[in-house]
């Protein structure tokens, strides 16, 4: 139920009785306002400092409501929720703009910003020595993107090869992409430089609610035993949400099979640990069925093919596409994407110019259905065309151990220890038996699956964009969530569908961070990074000095 006012003691006159919203340069930032008054003790829940029914129901909270619930309040002008690379890049911008560490809190359940990213890349077959799918100048540890990863690699390896590579890409070489290990090392260095860990508060964020009088309360469930109360509230003028992907969604038939057979071993998602499949392939002949035609499918395919060649294995691969791309596709000669053998080929998630060029400028002007149609045209499942992968797949096709099919799966069943998929193809029903099925479709759950976002959708007034995700302005402000001078921003995958498409990428997070930092500067929170400061700060970055 939505309510405009909190229930109970808070009335229409309440805003006048509230102190001014979070001050811009609050001298006591970080100060804890502890404990409930004795008179409020009767309203307190059983557990000290927990959410009350009144708090859960109310769209707007007063300071008194928190005090009555016994939830300690900590003042921080800006709170970022998530603590992954989205939070990191935004905080990096703000630190470089001159914001001190005591004015920012990073609420997270992660130990370091690249923790989730490293896990996901590792299990989806990009360990540290392998290269990720990211541009040379997309450096989350360097807001300038200079020197690029290619230049840095050329210097560290004393080699011209990376420089030659970026010179001739993408015509005579695949796009240059950095090694995952290089990315993580850079993030670690920058994290130390900006004092990221000093802003880190471990715990689980439960909700964000508007504060009467302006700003927001962010409720954090701290690590067990880290404080006397179950919850802690952060009172902030600005909130930044970078919670990443709301969750993984499985294909329905895979989920049904896994649930019915309690089998999480033979039917896996590529984003789960599935090393056992590669280990089994080294001990006996197996058939693996792959689902999906994106970058993760390519990576898993590469691992299977690499192992096949390296250890002399006899692994067979059946690759099932829902939509088979036979060749170049697009509405006209100006919008034609390469494709073939089932895959749509594209260097990165989107055409490159969404991150700064023509398509970025164009998307900023589109609304509603027009924007959704443009997303459909340039998005969809795609993977890079890489010379090595092409050679491996060609070899597999010729030898018969790599086969592709097009269709959907009606049903899956166990038969003689094999997983039989009943595939509906254009030529009729075909049954495919495999030892393992790897789901590489990477379907994402609805944003409402995320607890904080679900609460926000219900209580803040935020809407959904044409793709059903969080509706943000061009400045990445969440529409409908303003609270006095307070603003909630969001960046990352949860905002896909907005005026800027490449949100869930390193460069996309930097585009968002720049917009957010500039908007915060307009609101007086920090200085706008101008030419002089940018040069000064780059020199400090280059010498690994604090901002």
């Amino acid at each position: 139920m939505l309510t405009d006012m909190p229930t109970g003691q808070a009335g229409p006159e309440e805003p006048q009785t509230q102190p001014a919203t979070i001050q811009r340069r609050r001298p006591d930032a970080g100060q804890v306002v502890p404990g409930p008054p004795a008179a409020a003790a009767a309203q307190m829940p059983d557990v000290a400092g927990d959410l009350t029914d009144e708090l859960i129901r109310s769209d707007q909270w007063t300071d008194a409501m928190l005090q009555a619930a016994g939830i300690p309040v900590i003042d921080k002008p800006l709170v970022t929720i998530g603590g992954g690379i989205g939070s990191f890049v935004t905080v990096d911008y703000l630190r470089i703009a001159g914001v001190s560490t005591d004015r920012i809190a990073v609420l997270t359940n992660l130990d370091y910003p690249w923790q989730t990213y490293e896990y996901l890349t590792r299990v989806s077959q990009i360990p540290r020595p392998e290269r990720i799918r990211s541009d040379s100048a997309s450096r989350p540890d360097n807001i300038w993107g200079f020197p690029s990863y290619a230049v840095a690699e050329a210097i560290s390896d004393r080699s011209f090869v990376p420089l030659w590579h970026v010179l001739i890409e993408p015509m005579w070489a695949d796009f240059y992409t950095p090694k995952a290990g290089q990315v993580f090392a850079g993030l670690e260095r920058e994290s130390k430089r900006i004092g990221f860990t000093s802003m880190l508060v471990k715990g689980q964020v439960r909700m964000v609610r508007k504060r009467q009088g302006g700003g927001y309360f962010v409720i954090l469930t701290p690590m067990l035993g880290s404080g006397p109360t179950k919850r802690v509230a952060y009172r902030a003028e600005f909130v930044h949400l970078a919670v990443g992907y709301p969750g993984l969604k499985y294909l329905p038939e895979l989920q049904e099979f896994r649930t019915a057979h309690h089998d999480f071993h033979h039917v896996v998602s590529a984003y789960e640990e599935h090393e056992h499949i590669y280990e089994t392939a080294r001990t006996k002949h197996i058939v693996v069925m792959l689902r999906g035609g994106g970058i993760v499918a390519s990576r898993v395919l590469q691992r299977l093919m690499d192992d096949r060649a390296k250890y002399g294995l006899s692994t067979e691969i059946v690759h099932l596409f829902r939509t088979y791309i036979a060749g170049a596709h697009g509405p006209n000669a100006w919008n034609r994407r390469k494709g073939g053998n089932g895959f749509a080929y594209q260097g990165f998630n989107y055409p490159k110019s969404v991150w700064g060029g023509q398509l970025k400028a164009e998307m900023r002007t589109l609304e509603g259905d027009q924007r959704a149609a443009k997303y459909k045209l340039m998005g969809g499942t795609n993977t890079p065309w890489r010379r090595r992968w092409q050679a491996q797949m060609n070899e597999g096709r010729q030898a018969g151990w790599y086969r592709t099919m097009t269709g959907t799966v009606d049903q899956m069943r166990l038969d003689g220890g094999k997983i039989v998929s009943v595939v509906r193809t254009s030529a009729g029903i075909v049954e495919v038996a495999a030892d393992f099925v790897i789901d590489c479709t990477g379907l994402e759950a609805d944003i409402a699956e995320h607890r904080v976002l679900a609460d926000l959708l219900e209580h803040s007034g935020v809407g959904r964009n044409p793709l059903g995700r969080l509706d943000v302005e061009r400045t990445f402000e969440l529409r409908g969530t303003a609270s006095g001078p307070g603003v909630v921003y969001a960046s990352g995958a949860t905002t896909l569908g907005g005026y800027f498409p490449g949100v869930d990428t390193f460069l996309g997070l930097q585009v968002a961070a720049q917009e957010i930092a500039d908007d915060l500067a307009r609101r007086g929170f920090c200085r706008r990074i101008g030419t002089l400061r940018s040069v000064q700060q780059w020199l400090r970055w280059a010498r690994n000095r604090q901002p």
């Binding site: 200079f146 690029s148 001739i168 890409e169 594209q346 490159k352 720049q514 780059w538």
Partner: protein, 145 residues
Amino acid sequence: MLPTLGGRIQTRLVLLAVIGGLVTLIIGPVLPGSAPLSVVYRNNFLILIAVAVLGIGWECLYHFVMQWRWEKDWPTFFGLTTLVPEGLLVWLLLRGGDIPGIRGTVPPDAFCVDFLAVWLSVWLVANGPMRVPFIRWRFHGGRLV
């Protein structure tokens, strides 16, 4: 690079003016030829202006060509090799006496050295260091204002 048409033109004009101007100043005294330094500077700056003015037309052509690229990008190599047609056009105009204000004859070797030095400097700056003072430049299609 990921340019818009406006960004292309702005970047070209600013980089030719600043980087091109600096390189022209520095390289003038060491260029081959017997003309006095004042004439060398005059001629070379007129050539620089010609490259900038003609460049507006070239950028429109490049933007048109770019429309056939799915990524709507302009690879680094393209930015380097376009020096060939642009250099040839300026040289032909120079030989034909179509660049106003030129005094005497510009030796071919001096033209080559000057043109290459300016072009390479501008190209190198546009592909990296430009991002340091102009932090929003790369996200705005190369626009500076």
